[in-house]
């Protein structure tokens, strides 16, 4: 199976094939022989060329993977090479357009600091969420215009629920 892996700044060609009880995985120019055991619904013990690694892999909405490893969290996208090419051809336009800001935790909306149609600067407060007795301000990552508000003050939200759409 041929794939493109995208993780942070990295873009790598990946090929995976099964080899008996092991996987033979090529990442870029490096070839790894990996023996894998599932220890639970998310956790795997990997022996990568005999080096021991404990990983936890979660599927994110939209199909990307979140990998917990050595106390850090890594987001890894694996896509078909043709899909990758098509997305590259579109350039960054997809990322520059609408941005949906979602709740990164379940909680209650305390305040909504913006109105639809309002222009905001990068770093401007959008929404204050409360969870675990702590209030957290969610800010605009970049300047833009508020296209849609999905929540009102007092509303309960789940992690991943859309809050504000910026354009």
């Amino acid at each position: 199976m041929e794939l493109i892996a995208r993780s942070g700044e990295r873009v790598e060609r990946v090929s995976v094939e099964r080899d008996g009880t092991c996987y033979r995985i090529r990442v870029g120019e490096r070839e790894h022989r990996v023996e894998s055991r599932a220890l639970g619904p998310f956790v795997r013990s990997l022996l990568v060329n005999a080096e021991s690694h404990e990983t936890a892999v979660f599927r994110l909405p939209g199909g990307a993977w979140r990998v917990g490893w050595r106390g850090r969290s890594h987001r890894v996208e694996l896509v078909d090479p043709l899909t990758h090419l098509a997305e590259e051809a579109h350039g960054d336009s997809g990322r520059k357009g609408r941005q949906v800001i979602s709740a990164y935790m379940p909680g209650r909306v305390v305040t909504v600091s913006v109105a639809e149609g309002e222009a905001v600067e990068a770093g401007a407060p959008l929404v204050v969420l409360e969870a675990m007795k702590m209030q957290n301000e969610i800010q605009a990552e970049r300047a833009g215009t508020v296209r849609k508000l999905h929540v009102a003050a007092g509303q309960a939200v789940e992690g991943g629920d859309p809050l504000v759409e910026l354009e």
Binding site: F42, V57, V67
Partner: protein, 512 residues
């Protein structure tokens, strides 16, 4: 002095939740006392409920409807035949009314008398008592300031900079630092207004502002016969927004001679109010070595394990024995710290996202073990961390013969720790271990906030550029694709099955 009544507890009700409820249950089990807990609807599946002998529902998730229902909790204790209530820390632990209500209903309160809690609960009253007892306090006004003239006079006597504080306050609310006399008028007006809106009481007092102090506290135990002992200090200067994050014992800033003097002052403070059971005397320690009484915490502290690790004493067992009327034995006399202990508070918060809370289900948990490592946890793998309470998951405590060994063990323990499914602040401790000032023990109460604000505490990169995360994701991706390929009609099949299940569920609701 009236004869102290000695009794043996058969059952104790814990008016708390989380790791401290589990901690208290451990002590009860060792003393062969039945342990009962209360739980809110959010905590039905908590480790405390699983570990308890009895668990009683107390209400809905919000604290005001559950863990703060004082009358209901005391009534429950009476109803289930509990001999005593242990309040833990937080929630109702420092409410004089709870201690009084317990007394009224014939239930032992595992803590000091309502009179002692009340005397220490008011900052101005506590300060007056401390001055009378010869305990050093920060120079400043003896009580609430009547007007600006009184403030001016008190500030001149204490010497600038000074800090204005709400008499009924805590947690930084209503506090204002004043650098010179010209700022005093405006600051006095604002501090009063803040105090009124936060606490419904506009009384404020003033103190000398100690620059870059440490927070060093003395652990005390007092029995019902009036014996009070000091168990030495804890260094608690590492705080993020007034919240302790790392605590250790002993303090790198305290010599044996200073320990003795601070211990004597703390014992005098406790005696001044007739204090019994476990308590903590908090001091500000200036660079000069001068120390000043801050306040007395009239309960067990979160960080009590570091004292336990360097003294070999069990503070919760001691609390229960004292409450049963037992006198403090010779093992509590002349206690000196052995080795060094460090505690880190593991919170469900994301250090890469401004410490935002990260509640949810813990998918995988493995706590560190081995030499010199202790975990006081309130969670287990698979449990849900509710959004309704403090985000502390566990305390990780290490002990070593000296600080260097303790820190090496902390590094090793953090390496062993596995928490998946939610984010934790563990990377912050890795960043601390990599910091030279922390390693040398050179910090004050503002140091951590300063370092974080300056972006100087960056967790060490781990595995940047490694292929392992890609390999892990690629295997999941590959297996998932193989499974789908193996069942060409997989998706429709599943849909048909869920459809059938839904129809069955509908039928059963209709028929039952």
């Amino acid at each position: 002095m009236p004869e102290v009544e000695r009794r043996r507890f058969r059952k104790v009700l814990i008016a708390n939740r989380g790791e401290i409820a589990v901690r208290i249950l451990r002590a009860l089990r060792e003393l062969d006392i039945r342990g009962a807990v209360i739980y809110s609807d959010a905590d039905r599946e908590s480790l405390a409920v699983l570990s308890a002998d009895e668990a009683h529902r107390i209400g809905a998730p919000p604290s005001a409807e559950s863990y703060l229902r004082m009358e209901a909790i005391v009534e429950l204790a009476v109803e289930i035949g509990a001999d005593a209530i242990h309040p833990g820390y937080g929630f109702l632990a420092e409410r004089a009314e709870l201690s009084a209500l317990c007394r009224e209903r014939g239930v032992v309160f595992v803590g000091p008398s309502p009179e002692a809690i009340a005397a220490l609960g008011s900052k101005t009253e506590a300060r007056r008592r401390m001055i009378d007892a010869g305990v050093p306090v920060v120079p400043g006004s003896a009580g609430a300031l009547d007007d600006l003239d009184a403030a001016r006079e008190a500030a001149a006597r204490a010497g600038y900079p000074v800090i204005l504080k709400a008499s009924a306050g805590g947690g930084g609310k209503g506090m204002r630092v004043v650098r010179g006399e010209r700022e005093l008028g405006e600051a006095f007006r604002l501090a009063r207004a803040e105090a009124r809106s936060a606490f419904g009481d506009d009384a404020v007092f003033l103190e000398k502002f100690v620059v870059e102090p440490r927070h060093v506290e003395i652990q005390l135990l007092g029995d019902l016969d009036g014996k009070v002992v000091s168990l030495g200090e804890r260094e608690c200067s590492l705080q993020r927004r007034h919240q302790k994050v790392v605590e250790e014992a002993p303090s790198t800033a305290v010599s044996p001679e200073l320990r003795r003097r601070m211990g004597e002052a703390a014992v005098a403070a406790a005696r001044a109010v007739g204090y019994s059971n476990a308590g903590t005397c908090e001091f500000l320690l200036a660079r000069s070595g001068e120390f000043y009484f801050l306040e007395m915490n009239t309960r067990l502290q979160v960080e009590h394990p570091v004292t336990e690790m360097v003294t070999g004493l069990d503070l919760v067992v001691a609390q229960l024995r004292i409450a049963q009327g037992e006198p403090l034995g010779p093992e509590f006399d002349g206690v000196e710290p052995l080795g060094h202990a460090v505690e880190v508070r593991l919170y469900a918060e994301d250090p890469y996202n401004r410490f935002a809370p990260s509640p949810g289900r813990i998918a995988w948990l493995r706590l560190p073990q081995g030499p010199g490592v202790r975990n006081d946890a309130g969670v287990y793998g698979g449990c849900e961390v509710p959004i309704d309470y403090d985000p502390m998951l566990a305390k990780l405590i290490v002990w070593g013969r000296d600080r260097a060994e303790a820190l090496r063990r902390l590094g090793r323990a953090l390496d062993e720790l596995r928490v998946e499914g939610i984010r934790t602040n563990a990377p912050l401790f890795e960043a601390l271990l990599a910091d030279d000032e922390f390693r040398r023990g050179e910090f004050d109460i503002h140091w951590l906030d300063r370092k974080l604000a300056a972006g100087e505490l960056v967790p060490p990169e781990r595995g940047a550029g490694s292929d392992v995360p890609i390999l892990a994701a690629a295997i999941e991706h590959f297996d998932r694709a193989q499974r789908t390929a193996a069942q060409p009609n997989g998706a429709p099949h599943r849909a048909a099955w869920t459809g059938a299940a839904r129809r069955a569920a509908l039928r059963s609701t209709r028929w039952s």
